[in-house]
Symmetry: C2
Subunit: 331 residues, 2 copies
Amino acid sequence: MNTYKRIVLASRPHGEVTPDNFRLEEQPMPQLQEGQLLVRNHFLSLDPYMRGRMEETKSYAAPQPLNETMIGGTVGEVIESRHPKFAVGDKVQGMFGWSEIGVSDGALLRKLDTSRIPLSAYLGAVGMPGMTAWYGLTQIMKPKAGETIVVSAASGAVGSVVGQLAKERGCRAVGIAGGAEKCRYVVEELGFDACVDYKAGNLQDDLAKATPDGIDAVFENVGGGGFDACLARMNPFGRIALCGLIAGYNGEPMALHNVRAFLTMRLTLQGFIVSEHMDLWPQGLQELGGLVASGKLKFRESVAQGLESAPDAFMGLLKGRNFGKQLVKLV
Amino acid sequence: MNTYKRIVLASRPHGEVTPDNFRLEEQPMPQLQEGQLLVRNHFLSLDPYMRGRMEETKSYAAPQPLNETMIGGTVGEVIESRHPKFAVGDKVQGMFGWSEIGVSDGALLRKLDTSRIPLSAYLGAVGMPGMTAWYGLTQIMKPKAGETIVVSAASGAVGSVVGQLAKERGCRAVGIAGGAEKCRYVVEELGFDACVDYKAGNLQDDLAKATPDGIDAVFENVGGGGFDACLARMNPFGRIALCGLIAGYNGEPMALHNVRAFLTMRLTLQGFIVSEHMDLWPQGLQELGGLVASGKLKFRESVAQGLESAPDAFMGLLKGRNFGKQLVKLV
């Protein structure tokens, strides 16, 4: 290999993301300096937060710079090392972005044990998405056994973990997902108590049937009509962990109508970003890793082949075309 | 006095409250039984929460029953007592409603010291409105010195206390109020740093000028456009105490548009009802009472004369025609 491929942000989207927002580039292989190591990325993680980074607006993170490698979490293998703590063959997780390789000085790099947990799971249930679910559930929703929790995008990388962790804690777990197939998976494979198909056109009635005792806590990934339908079913002192508003990521109006419920039901809503709570990652990852290793925590992956497929897979993710955690296989 | 007057809820409003929702009644004076006492109410408190009770919808409290005395806080004087702990002449606070008199067995009745605090203040800054301000500020907004807080309905019974307590804590306090006169009062009399007149037509620009460092915490009484304007100015980890949504009390649409701010700024929103936190009242009332007695906490009252004026005064309150705490003087 004398060169490697990467994808940079070529332009910012106006509304929907389009293929020409990205550009595939071939780069010369870097030369390692003392204290550095070279990683061949095996999997790239595609996540909704990337859509926000493509904008230039005020948000929790700096915008993705133009003409630089698109941000993203990766797992891979060390193929060359001039770093005392990393050896060729080590499996590592990093933030090397949409790129076949990455160079690191070891900072922010995490060595992975793949003896009981598959490499790709460190980008999903035992990685950032799993931690996002764990944080929102345990720190904001704080559900008690017997309570009803609802999670949107329930078949996705985050939502699927939220519901399974809630079941572990003795809750009634209800999902919202798009399409009968995803809903069947959420109930039959993941073990949720019910799943409402928002594409079926009876969201409010179906949610009412699925939550006969009301809703005590919500994990919100989507926003829009599903969020409003949940607000209308909240019990007093309900908690809402706001993780994403994917329905509005292209600038669609995101008005919330059932605002009175916050007052009449004394609800608490909290927006959060899991990367700001690194102190809790060891605790969360221990629980998640144990559940994945023992087969109790199930997950599903949509795997696109080759770096070139990343833009298409990402656009599909934003439209809900993925089914489970969206990955790009690079090797 | 062989009879006394009271006002009952005659019908529920459809949209705006109208005079025929109320009915003035003359009742025979009650005969006291052993263990009871009779109170002549001097002041009746009019508060926005009463609008919610007039509805029959699911909320935090049971609806006001038809044909019974309208709910309300009162202060007055014991005029007859067959209760060992209350003597004629004692000043008391109770929930006797829109009525010239009240009979009690002493439960939920609070004896008042009017040597340093005027009787009517126990319905305002040293009563439920003051406690509402204190709870929202200290338990939800938790402002640090140097932070900017914004409160809507800033010249009102609750808002005026929020801003003054925030100033005591070293914050920049910014009010939102309707009209130049109220805004002048909020800044010049109450000592807020700035006040935005939402009727002037430049709410967003004026709020931006008044909050050059953004907003760290909001006390929301109104909802609607002012709330959205605040959301657009929030700093990371901002806190919002949701106390009221008076702009939507007649069933007006109350959509919130800047929902993304909750996520991008990792905001926390909490709705609350101060009567559910009675454990904190002694602590809060001690601070409020001390500040009123020493003249540091200023307040203003709109006083309507006579029980018959209560419906009009209440309808004015819902339209913001009052200036400060709305009371009805009954004696």
